[in-house]
């Protein structure tokens, strides 16, 4: 992305992004409480979906295991806050570190596979994580999960909006870091790997190392999102890491447009809002999820941004 046209597109995207953030910042006091809650959820999922996009869209590693690292963050926060009354900062930091450590450990294993096998092995990572959450009752509470996670007391805004603003700040920080990452030389190497691993190797890149690093980075961000989710939801159970949840992240990326960051953020908002809307009428959210999947795959493989002609890929 160089040159005048790309530069202008970047400017436009930046302006739109900042406008969106400003709206998210000034509107809430005048919005119904329910909307504020849903917007918070949207943003948490957007952080997770955009971190998955680093793997899925940018590096071309179709991971179905991302929910596992999200869950590591969620359970870490749930345990630390309910058992030892950890502060917001401590719970957040621990969740990020443990999720990064988990993906560093799992990464050694799953990077032995590529393509369709990578998808299958990451899917099994999700399923193992679910199994652990479900069976390791002494730690995770099994099916009951961990309940009564207290909202963090931050005390910088009144009126019950402090958590809203905390996630907004973290969301903005995350997005900035994501953008810096994909704009950086390292980010370009990820796209290079997506386009041609063999060429990257011959150019002198240790492809494995780049994939490993992005896996750990994406895992860390998923852990952050998971931690916020635990606070937001007040409850963490095996459904955090079940198949539907894992696929939901992937769907957010695909619906918005993989490899664009902005797309998955929009995708997260769309899928989350859709879920809220659908569940008013029916219990069959997973079916609707699957239908959206099929429609996207068939008619909009590059997602919303692809349909709008924003992506030049």
């Amino acid at each position: 992305m160089t040159g005048f046209r790309a530069g202008r597109a970047r400017m436009a995207a930046a302006v739109a992004g900042i406008a969106g953030l400003v709206l998210l910042a000034i509107l809430p006091p005048s919005l119904p409480a329910y909307v504020v809650i849903v917007l918070t959820e949207c943003r948490i999922y957007a952080m997770a979906a955009a971190s998955l996009d680093l793997l899925n869209g940018y590096t071309g590693m179709a991971s179905l295991g991302h929910a596992a690292f999200f869950a590591v963050g969620a359970y870490t926060t749930a345990l630390l806050t309910t058992r030892s009354g950890a502060s917001f900062a401590v719970a957040l930091a621990a969740s990020i570190l443990l999720a990064a450590a988990a993906s560093a450990a799992v990464g050694v294993l799953i990077l032995r596979a590529s393509g369709i096998y990578f998808m299958m092995i990451t899917l099994s990572v999700s399923m193992c994580a679910w199994g652990l959450a479900y069976r390791w009752v002494s730690l995770t509470g099994g099916d009951t999960g961990i309940v009564s996670i207290p909202r963090p007391r931050l005390g910088f805004v009144a009126g019950g909006l402090e958590f809203y603003y905390a996630t907004l700040v973290l969301f903005s920080v995350c997005l900035t870091l994501y953008l810096l990452l994909v704009w950086s030389p390292f980010g370009k190497t990820l796209v290079g790997i997506r386009d041609s691993e063999s060429r990257m190797r011959v150019l002198g890149f240790n492809v494995w190392l780049h994939k490993y690093l992005v896996l750990v980075i994406a895992g860390a961000f998923a852990g952050l999102a998971g931690s916020l989710y635990a606070y937001y939801n007040g409850f963490v159970g095996p459904n955090t890491v079940d198949l539907a949840h894992a696929m939901q992240f992937v769907l957010m990326v695909i619906v918005g447009g993989p490899g664009t960051l902005v797309g998955p953020v929009i995708g997260a908002f769309i899928v989350t809002l859709l879920e809220k809307a659908v569940s008013v009428f029916t219990e069959r959210w997973v079916m609707v999820l699957a239908a959206v999947y099929v429609v996207t795959a068939l008619w909009a493989p590059r997602g919303l941004l692809g349909v709008l002609g924003v992506v030049r890929r």
Binding site: P185, T189, D195, G204
Partner: protein
């Protein structure tokens, strides 16, 4: 690295063998290419030429044998490290970054050997020195006006030029060219041949090529592969005259 007694060859293969199941694609290939030499590798389809390149570049492990680069045993050195040791290659089937601009393709080639490839917080476009080098390379291959076009929108001929430009940006001391003129028009092919001949005389070049005019124009020595084995070896004139080579190679064309 111990000093070798004789002048060290740029590239040495010693009994290099690669099996795919029952098929011996490359069998006991030994060759020694001295620094600055231009060596042609020819042979009929399926002779094992590309496989040999992949063994030399480290894209694929050897079944047995040794590969040495400037006297250093690189048999077990991973592919990307070999690039840092001065090996470069192009692909028979164009292998670029199609979703990226021409400039970014070249910048990726520069990053390959540059520590800034791990930089994560500074936008790539602020690395003026990388883009300046890429622009220089674009001038050289005459693609300056295509700079901001996506590579997948280039013509086949232009892509073949980018292919070579990428390899050259790595500053290779030994360059493996796998049918660089594949699919080019005669005019494009002639231009590319001239460009290869004008490469720095210090660069050792191994050239796989089906177009005999190109081979005879560039190389000083030819190794013929047949069914994975070295079949003949000599100057272009000797090879041209060799009736056995004519039988297996020219005979079938």
């Amino acid at each position: 690295m111990p000093a070798a007694p004789a002048p060290t060859a740029a590239l040495e293969c010693e009994d290099v063998t690669r099996r795919f199941g029952g098929l011996e694609a490359v069998r006991d290939v030994s060759l020694s290419v001295s620094a600055g030499e231009r060596r042609g590798i020819i042979g009929p389809n399926g002779a094992g030429k590309t496989t040999l390149f992949r063994l030399i570049s480290g894209e694929m492990p050897l079944t047995s044998g040794r590969v040495r680069l400037f006297g250093r045993d690189i048999t077990h050195v991973p592919c990307h490290r070999r690039t840092h040791l001065g090996l470069g290659r192009t692909f028979q089937i164009t292998n670029l970054f199609p979703t990226q601009t021409v400039a970014d393709n070249l910048v990726l080639a520069i990053l390959g050997l540059h520590p800034s490839k791990f930089s994560m917080l500074r936008p790539l476009w602020t690395y003026r020195e990388h883009y300046a080098r890429a622009d220089g390379a674009l001038e050289t291959v005459g693609l300056a006006e295509r700079r901001d076009d996506l590579v997948r929108n280039l013509s086949h001929g232009e892509q073949r030029q980018v292919e070579i430009a990428l390899a050259l940006l790595g500053g290779p001391r030994v360059l493996l060219l796998d049918e660089p003129t594949a699919g080019l028009s005669p005019a494009e092919s002639a231009r590319l041949t001239r460009a290869i001949r004008q490469l720095d005389a210090g660069i050792t070049v191994l050239l796989i090529e089906h177009d005999m005019d190109v081979v005879f124009d560039i190389v000083s020595r030819i190794t013929v592969l047949h069914q994975g084995r070295p079949f003949a070896d000599g100057t272009p004139a000797e090879i041209r005259k060799d009736p056995r080579v004519q039988k297996i190679y020219f005979g079938e064309q």
